[in-house]
């Protein structure tokens, strides 16, 4: 399906929902269990599995996904509360109990927090949950007051019957409402009538984040707890041949030192984490590196380069025409190769988990994006039934894809606990170095792009070859469909640029480096190639980069709309101040449309000063505007960090970087001025946590080209003589 068709079908959707007069009917879908399945406490009544009402009129809304900074602990319940016509001041939010969820056969649906899909993937059933609970409260009021339900209104947590002047809060009618039949279908509100959706509700987790009371995975403390740290083989895939812990074990507080998981790692357990960590340095370990000690960044790049010429690459689905013939007939040819390196997630909270193995139950506390996946990881490690795992929800100190079910640190904590006496709670915590060197990395990728222009400067032919690993194939054994990895090719598959002839393909290029989902995934890297190449074509055509993009994107494609929004916000049609240069990029990630303009100047010594970043996003609907702004501001920081300094390099099979001194990220002094433009068109639900990043790096590199004439085709920028200026006023 190409992008154009996608947008046409969306337009039809808007029209058809308008045709039935605003609101639209949707049949109830799971997850929407019956209240009777839940045992609520004395003064609380579950109306359905998402909504629980107490006699004091407070409304408890369940939240099934994770909170790791993206804000949906607040915004997802806004969806329920709006349809319920609740008073937001009375709303409380509670995590779904993971064990109960597992025992109720995943009643609350998808609990994984990945792919910017918490809102877009659950908005329909969450709104339904609110609307259904509202309908049942109305039915209860109608029954109690012996009036027709159609005469009853609900607003701001008050149920009213205007004719008789009767009113009630939710609490008094909750018990009766729970006995009412669950409506087969409910009308969802016309967006014009939303009053909680679309509001910048303060994030409910923030108060605990400012006084130290927020509990993260590494903060759990239990009576009798012991503390563990561990070392895996520096060369991925290696194992312990022998180890000597004599000195380590003689240190104060050391409880035990042992190998875990078929000799994949050495664990040290102590009465204090620092003591464990000091002792680990004194364990002498002989690693079997299994031949992977030969691999280096250079050998990987050489392998990718070979694969640019492989004859067995898999063609992408939207190819059309004859791209080779198109290139042969073109007046102007442009060809370029782009490289994006491996990257580490480096969330502020290092990896760790607490496990307590008791009789017939295992308790787990872990910062995770996938509570069911983490439960499964522990159950598999200990060979216990999944139903016996009780995973406790905590805030995650950043996730960014690192905590999405890799089954490594949670598994290790379980195996360490299993080696200790039963009923001994153990908290495993990795060092920053262990995290940096045993991540599941954003894949490295090499791209070759070829384009041909006709005499009018229009694109007649476009070719793309992608050489990269596959996250899902490598980490989870998921077979490629038609030889294509969806993540590695996103950004190209639905190329918005119209070329008469198009040929793109993907060559799977596995290495021993573990791969994972890194914020914005394929969209974190493909725009570096795509959105610079379109600039290179514009330069070859002698055209303005914005105008060139604009005329090659179909009018009804929302990528063009957001491009216009960003350009207008930046004042693209007026020259930048002397010495300041602009770059632009547009993208279509995770159901949203995201464009950026970067304004910068560059000193003779290569110091980049970013004067302004304009970020525009069309997420269709908007649930919490301030949270979207925060996500985009943060995404910009994330992207500029990666652009300037981000790379994980391999030498002798192992990662070279270890901590924030050699895996640099942006700090306050380097923070550019950022302007976020929300440009929602309505009609669809797009992602928020990841799309903001996608256009930043190419917009930055395009501005860099405008300023210097240097086209940077491999990241990070530090290797091209560029540094980032601090922004202090002069």
């Amino acid at each position: 399906m190409n992008n154009q068709a996608f947008n046409q079908s969306r337009r039809r959707f808007i029209l058809s929902s308008a045709a039935i007069g605003g609101g639209f009917a949707i049949a109830l879908q799971i997850p929407m269990g019956k209240a009777q399945e839940l045992q609520a406490g004395g003064d609380k009544q579950s109306i359905n599995i998402w909504v629980e009402i107490a006699t004091d009129d407070s409304v408890m809304i369940k939240y099934a996904r994770s909170e790791m900074g993206q804000g949906s602990l607040t915004s997802a319940p806004q969806l329920v509360a709006d349809e319920l016509d609740a008073n937001w001041d009375n709303v409380r939010i509670e995590y779904v109990d993971v064990n109960e969820h597992i025992r109720m056969k995943s009643a609350w649906g998808d609990t994984m927090t990945v792919g910017s899909r918490t809102i877009r993937g659950s908005q329909e059933y969450l709104r339904n949950a609110g609307a259904t609970a509202r309908a049942m409260l109305v039915a209860a009021a109608a029954s109690h007051w012996k009036v027709d339900a159609s005469e009853i209104s609900v607003a701001n947590g008050i149920i009213s019957h205007a004719a008789s002047g009767r009113q009630s809060g939710f609490g008094a009618l909750a018990a009766l409402a729970a006995t009412m039949p669950v409506p087969a279908q409910v009308m969802l509100k016309d967006p014009a009538n939303w009053h909680i959706i679309g509001q910048s509700m303060p994030r409910v987790d923030i108060p605990a984040s400012v006084n130290g009371s927020q509990v993260y995975g590494v903060d759990v403390e239990l009576p009798g707890m012991v503390y563990a740290t561990m070392a895996q083989c520096p060369v991925f895939g290696g194992t312990v041949r022998t180890f000597d812990a004599t000195t380590a074990k003689s240190r104060r507080g050391i409880i035990d030192v042992f190998a875990i998981d078929d000799d994949k790692a050495i664990a040290v357990v102590a009465d204090n984490w620092w003591r464990a960590q000091q002792a680990l340095k004194e364990v002498v370990i002989d690693w079997d590196t299994k031949g992977n000690e030969q691999v280096s960044s250079a050998s990987i790049l050489a392998y990718f380069k070979e694969n640019l010429n492989a004859t067995d690459a898999a063609p992408l689905p939207n190819n059309r025409g004859d791209a080779d013939q198109g290139l042969a007939a073109a007046i102007t040819l442009v060809e370029a190769e782009y490289f994006t390196p491996y990257l580490s997630h480096a969330p502020m909270e290092p990896m760790g988990a607490t496990v307590l193995i008791g009789t017939d139950r295992v308790d787990v506390w872990v910062s995770t994006q996938g509570p069911e996946a983490a439960s499964q990881s522990v159950a598999a490690a200990l060979q216990v039934p999944l139903e016996n795992v009780y995973l406790h929800r905590v805030q995650a100190g950043g996730g960014f894809g690192r905590r999405g079910g890799t089954g490594d640190y949670d598994r290790a904590a379980a195996l360490i606990a299993a080696t200790l006496p039963k009923d001994t709670p153990v908290k495993l915590l990795w060092t920053r170095e262990e995290d940096t060197q045993h991540d599941f990395y954003r894949p490295a990728a090499l791209y070759r792009l070829q384009g041909g222009l006709d005499a009018d400067g229009n694109i007649v032919s476009w070719k793309t070859r992608i050489a990269s690993g596959s996250i899902l194939n490598q980490s989870r054994g998921v077979p490629l469909r038609d030889g294509i990895d969806a993540q590695a090719t996103e950004g190209f598959t639905d190329l918005p640029y119209q070329a008469t002839n198009l040929f793109q393909d993907f060559k799977l290029s596995p290495t021993h480096v573990p791969l994972g989902f890194w914020r914005t995934v394929g969209w974190s890297q493909t725009p570096f190639a795509r959105e610079q190449f379109i600039d290179e074509l514009a330069v070859a055509a002698g055209a303005d980069p914005y105008q060139f993009r604009h005329r090659h994107i179909a009018q009804d494609n929302l990528s063009r709309h957001i491009l216009e929004i960003a350009a207008n916000a930046a004042g693209w049609d007026t020259p930048a101040p002397a010495g300041i240069f602009r770059g632009i990029a547009t993208t279509e990630p995770y159901g949203s449309f995201s464009a950026a303009v970067v304004e910068l100047s560059v000193s003779d010594s290569g110091e980049i000063r970013i004067h302004r970043v304009i970020q525009a996003i069309n997420s269709g609907h908007v649930v919490n505007p301030d949270n979207i702004m925060a996500q985009l501001q943060g995404s910009m920081v994330w992207a500029v960090s990666a652009a300037m300094w981000g790379e994980i390099t391999i030498d002798q099979g192992r990662v070279q970087e270890g901590n924030f001194h050699d895996y640099r990220v942006l700090r306050m002094a380097e923070m550019p001025k950022v302007e976020v433009v929300l440009a929602p068109t309505g009609g669809f639900w797009g992602g928020i946590g990841e799309p903001g990043q996608a256009p930043i790096i190419p917009a930055l590199c395009n501005a860099l080209f405008a300023a210097t004439g240097t086209r940077v085709r491999s990241l990070p920028l530090k290797h091209h003589g560029f540094s980032l200026a601090t922004q202090a006023t002069v």
Binding site: V210, G212, E349, L666, Q727
Partner: protein, 154 residues
């Protein structure tokens, strides 16, 4: 060894070289101070020792003996400190993990310099936030100071 933390006295038996962070977290159960890097790079472990901000992951506990140690928990039990209130008003935290350290750094800055310029903020606020909340941290500090931002920085 005797330690004074948040106006409370603790008598602890500990190696003098143990970093203050691990005494606070694993011996005194004050979990608001975070471990981020262990090498004074990120500032998630920032606390005050006699009013000076220190990175407790690399600060031997012996050096804090006899001094007044303040952690995030000691700032205000009800989150009523002006900096905490500004952090809520500006909706600064995302994941929140680094924010104890950010707040302790901001409090130390404002106690010494009630009206910091952007350059002052840049020089003192060197803590890492991976979520990228720097704009809001800056706004919140200016708000507490009663300043309007004086540069082109967001």
């Amino acid at each position: 060894m005797e330690l004074q933390v948040n106006n409370q006295l603790f008598d602890i038996d500990v190696e003098p070289e143990m970093p203050l962070l691990w005494v606070l977290r694993d011996m005194l159960n004050l979990k608001g101070t975070k471990f981020g890097c262990g090498i004074s790079q990120c500032g998630a472990c920032t606390v005050h020792v006699d009013g000076e901000m220190v990175r407790s992951c690399s600060f031997p506990v012996a050096a804090a003996a006899g001094k007044k140690i303040t952690t995030i928990e000691g700032l205000a039990t009800d989150a009523s400190h002006p900096v905490q209130q500004a952090w809520v008003r500006h909706q600064v935290p995302q994941c929140g993990y680094c924010q104890s350290g950010q707040i302790m750094a901001a409090v130390a800055l404002l106690e010494k310099n009630p009206s910091p310029t952007d350059a002052d903020i840049n020089a003192t606020m060197t803590n890492i936030c991976r979520c990228g909340t720097y704009k809001r941290i800056r706004d919140a500090i200016h708000d507490v100071a009663g300043n309007t931002p004086d540069s082109n920085q967001a």
